[in-house]
Amino acid sequence: MQQHIDRKVYHIEILTPKQNSEKLEEDLQTFEQKFRRVMDEGHMACITDNPMGMLSFQGTEMIQELGLPVLPEQLMIHLNTFHTKADLDGILATAKQLGIAYFLIVSGDGSERLPRLKGSDVGYEVESVTSVELLKYIRREYPGAFHLGVAFNPYEPAEHEVEKLRRKVDAGAEFVITQPIIEKHDGLGALVPFGLPVVIECWMSKKLSLLSECVGYEIPEGTPYDPPGNLRILIANYPRYGFYLSILGFKTQLPLIRDLWK
């Protein structure tokens, strides 16, 4: 991961189509276009896993079904704990077979329709499986096969979040991706002692209010926000870190950000 940061490679989030999409073929085409564009431009495509508990297609099956190229250093798949054991094993086996090297391991958001892994599925006596157990499981079942990253939320109480990160690192996390940061957050200082590569999420939607739940307080609708401007400030404030762009506008924003990080 550090080499991506050194080479100033953006991590660009791409959402897979929702399971209930009424225009599935069109959504698949859009996904493919975005994926290929990220590849062509040398960035890293980061494919989500049922974000916000919304039932969506898996990154590995999208790549397989659409016949998309796997460039190991340009692809990261999100993986959360809301899967059956069979599905989890299927995703990991397919990923290995396809040559996918990077996973972002998160606990994830559930929904009524999404099954959650049980402790017995991954061989641990826990009430609910978190990213820690999932990391351990992957390290145990696929030793050395993948580079695994984890999330860090500076909006959570620092002591609790740092302790969680310590357990994730002990379980095999190699890099960290933060929650969206606006300009600067003192909580990121807690990451320094871990010495891991850090990638900061930059929220690229103008609708800042959508981050209310993430940051834990109400951001009023219509709050002015300049996403490329925030990215520029983040790049200046965190010269040693990488950047993960969520909700990026491919038509309007992608051309704008090319020259921001040099």
Binding site: Q19, N20, L24, F57, E61, M62, E65, T84, D87, R113
Partner: protein, 262 residues
Amino acid sequence: MKIVVCVKQVPGTADVAIDPETKRLKREGVEAIMNPFDAYAVEQGCLLKERFGGEVVVVSMGPPQAAATVREALSCGADRGVLLSDRAFAGSDTWATSYALSCAIRSIGGVDLVFCGKQAIDGDTAQVGPGIAAHLGWPQVTCVSRMTDVQPDAVTVHRMNEDGYDIVRVLLPAVITVVKDLNTPRVPTLRSRLASRKATLPVWTAATVAADPAALGLEGSPTRVVKINPPPARNKTTVQIRGTADECAARLVHELRLKSLL
């Protein structure tokens, strides 16, 4: 084993208006989903087919847009589907609906088991499954949470009740309604979803299933809805507990006890 699963398309939200004239739910413009309990019925049918061989046929009665729900069941593993759609079915209550569905099941022929969700989340009557059994003259078991034995001529199941469960052996053919404890419904793959969108879906009318027109629609419905009201809105309140972790925990326990939740 030939298995029929009855599924229903329902509104995906509780925020649905009621037509004061017809006393029916206004479904126009509301996101439609497969009745959640029906997903467990589909899964159980597919599990039995995968274990014992045979075929799973999905049947739904509704307007043309209900085809999406049948296709969803196909993407979850059912072999084929039928949509019962005809002006003659409009206005059917649970008795007329179960009559129409029973006619379809007879038309399919050679059916060993019929699965239904225990109830639909829009009407909450839990009457259609038992109604189908009554029309067919078959035995029924409602609220099945487990199947412990499956033989060519009989199945043994756990029937949930308020105090636990009954163990019931029922001769086939039979109708079984299921609860969520029964299994974990699979999430469709992209491949199965795409295949389901291309599947041929016959639309059967009252004539196709040789239903008596007098037993359908308003004429065939003994139920008269005199008045219908949505339940009163639940008051949501947020209480923030401040203090040390121990103080917060003690206060939380106290508050939950006051509400008889602990």
